[in-house]
């Protein structure tokens, strides 16, 4: 999967992380242990994935995106997903307002005039060629920034990028003189960015990554176990994404314009292109503030347009689209066979994740214990637009000093595809009332081999201790509330409250049922005795699962000698 065929020596590499999106791309590298997301010569860290040829000059990024208004037939946009695909398999929905993809001998291609001369023949450029040229611009920007030539990269790709698409990307990069060290999946890259602090890297948790982009939304449920990441389920959606929110604003303001001038600006291609660019700006402003302006010079038939919108209005007109993201997240959790109560962390990644309403809606479907990592719900959130590229930069620095064969060997299915435990493995301990409680030591969905160590209190008075190793699993306990006796002498205030706000009452009713995750002890695997513990002692239990599913148990009193060992 990794290329590494450039004959480059490991020590001569200069590697960066790259995200190549349909809408935006980013570049980053590790500088003195910190990830630096690189601003290109225009000062952009989110660089539009757009390439444009105007008067014989090549433009990329923000400058090329601006040409969507005046030079749409010379501007190529939204092409990443076409790499490695046949023409009949692509969805050109987003290419209506730029160069249309066409079939040139089976290759998805774009025809435009590269040269300035009036009579110059148009060129037909394959999507690989376009990608290659675009990557070259990214690499040049990164090299200029670092002041040394960048040779290699870790590039992020969606989880449903096929092998064919991956090879096409490697080839396109090679043509741009860029070695692809590794392609890593976008959601896991976002997790890496959050786990850059070593102390958080090793906590076992279930993470949902919602990567909400411009033309697609990709959600993944990931089990993080002992610093290893396994994707349990994914969902890809092409309906609920940033463009749909742009459209909400386009339609809203177009209607306003029609009311005033009886002209529908959406019917003219150039007016529509202007609407789209301004709608995106307004949408971004609404992520930060409560009000945003919308103004376009000469929107249609020479008429200027100026208006404003507040966040509440936006969230009202965009309600259906905004709600779609929540349902998407719910569906993938279900697909993984999990419940929102099983989710420890939700990482909101991708540009659209800046939208406060999306994060707030998600907050509402998870228990309080779940962290929702988005700018509007967490002070510790990392810029969602930078997450994937930060992870890629970390991975690039991790492996840039390794030989290509070594990377290839480590990413081989013989190393990556292994059994994962269905049930947790743990120890039967005592609750506050002396009842048996299952305490998981190795979580479900942990890959083998695995090793974990846990310390428990010995019985208060000391003495001989039973270590019962068992499997365990969770179920959701629904606690129905005691039927509320409506007090007959309800205060006047109460009555007024419920009259006022029937919605409040609804939510109160919903809250009455409590759902809780509880562990259930399953079948016993082994029993062991640790004898003669001192009063107040601690007992340490280590469980090691072998690749052959053997279970090795080691128990001992902390600070004590010897201990008990056994293997199942």
């Amino acid at each position: 999967m990794s290329a590494g065929k450039t004959g480059l020596k490991a020590e001569d590499r200069k590697a960066i992380g790259i995200t190549l999106g349909n809408s935006n791309s980013s570049i980053a590298y590790l500088k003195e242990d910190n990830v630096e997301v690189i601003a290109n010569e225009d000062g952009d860290r989110q660089i539009p994935t757009v390439l444009s040829y105007v008067d014989g000059d090549e433009y990329y990024g923000q400058q090329a995106k601006a040409f969507l208004v005046r030079q749409p037939k010379q501007t190529v946009a939204y092409f990443r997903d076409f790499l490695g695909k046949e023409f009949k398999d692509i969805d050109p929905t987003h290419n209506h307002a730029s160069v249309h993809p066409e079939d040139a001998n089976g290759a998805v291609s774009f025809t435009l005039k590269e040269k300035a001369e009036e009579d110059a023949a148009p060129s037909t450029l394959s999507v690989s060629e376009i990608t290659s040229r675009y990557l070259r611009r990214l690499v040049t920007a990164a090299s200029d920034y670092r002041g040394e030539k960048v040779t290699s990269a870790v590039i992020t790709v969606p989880t449903n990028f096929s092998e064919k698409q991956k090879s096409a990307l490697v080839e396109a990069a090679a043509a741009a003189d860029l070695e692809v060290l590794q392609m890593i999946s976008e959601p896991v890259s976002a997790i890496l960015a959050y786990n850059a602090k070593p102390e958080v890297a090793n906590v076992d948790k279930i993470v949902v990554v919602a990567d909400l982009g411009g033309t697609r939304s990709d959600v993944a449920v990931v089990a993080q176990r002992g610093g290893l990441y396994t994707i349990l389920a994914t969902e890809h959606d092409y309906e609920f994404a940033g463009y749909a929110l742009d459209k909400v604003l386009i339609d809203h303001f177009a209607k306003e314009f029609i009311k005033k001038h009886s002209i529908d600006p959406r019917e003219d291609a150039r007016s529509l292109a202007k609407l789209k660019l301004e709608a995106e700006q307004t949408k971004k402003a609404l992520s930060l503030g409560n009000n945003a302006s919308f103004s376009i010079e000469s929107l249609a038939q020479g008429i200027d347009f100026q208006s404003t919108i507040n966040r509440l209005r936006y969230e009202t007109v965009g309600r259906t689209v905004l709600g779609g993201f929540t349902r998407l997240v719910e569906s993938v959790i279900k697909k993984a066979g999990l419940d929102p109560l099983d989710v420890d962390e939700v990482i909101l990644s991708g540009g659209t994740s800046h939208t406060p309403r999306i994060a707030h809606n998600l907050r509402a479907i998870f228990p309080e214990s779940t962290s929702i990592l988005a700018p509007s719900t967490s002070a510790n959130a990392i810029n969602p637009s930078e997450l994937a590229v930060r992870g890629a930069a970390l991975q690039a620095s991790l492996i840039e000093g390794r030989e290509a064969e070594e990377i290839e060997q480590a990413t081989h299915p013989a190393v990556t595809t292994v059994p994962h435990l269905t049930n947790a493995i743990g120890v039967v301990s005592l609750g506050t009332d002396g009842e048996e409680i299952f305490t998981p030591i190795i979580a479900p969905e942990t890959s083998v081999p695995a090793r974990r160590t846990v310390r428990f209190d010995a019985p208060q008075q000391g003495g001989d201790v039973l270590i019962k190793i068992a499997e365990g699993n969770t179920h959701i306990k629904v606690i129905k509330p005691e039927p509320k006796v409506k007090s007959t002498n309800a205060t006047v205030e109460d009555a007024k409250d419920s009259d006022d706000d029937s919605e409040d009452e609804d939510s109160e009713e919903e809250e009455e049922e409590k759902r809780e995750k509880v562990w259930k002890v399953g079948s016993t695997l082994a029993e062991a005795a640790v004898r003669g513990t001192k009063s107040g002692a601690k007992v340490e239990v280590t469980i090691i699962i072998g690749a052959d599913l053997s279970v090795k148990v080691e128990c001992r009193e902390v600070g004590g000698k010897g201990g008990v060992r056994g293997t199942i």
Binding site: L228, I399, L421, S447, V448, V454, F456, A529, V564, G566
Partner: protein, 63 residues
């Protein structure tokens, strides 16, 4: 080396008459697994890969 977690819960006392050779009793087996793919990223994955490729145990790898 993975970190040791301390759980503030007590273990039960050994029941009267419990006995086993070397104080260890096998009872059952792991009941189920699913074949899944670990994402080849992050520092701890590299340790995992090294252990597998060189057929090292955890404690051999720690040394």
């Amino acid at each position: 080396m993975t970190a040791t977690i301390t759980i503030s819960r007590a273990l039960p006392a050994l029941p009267q008459g419990w006995e086993a050779e070397k104080d260890f009793k096998k009872v059952g087996k792991i009941s189920g697994t699913t074949e899944r793919t670990i994402e080849p990223v992050g520092p701890l994955f590299l340790s995992h890969a090294e252990r597998l490729i060189h057929k090292r145990t955890f404690s051999e790898h720690d040394r």
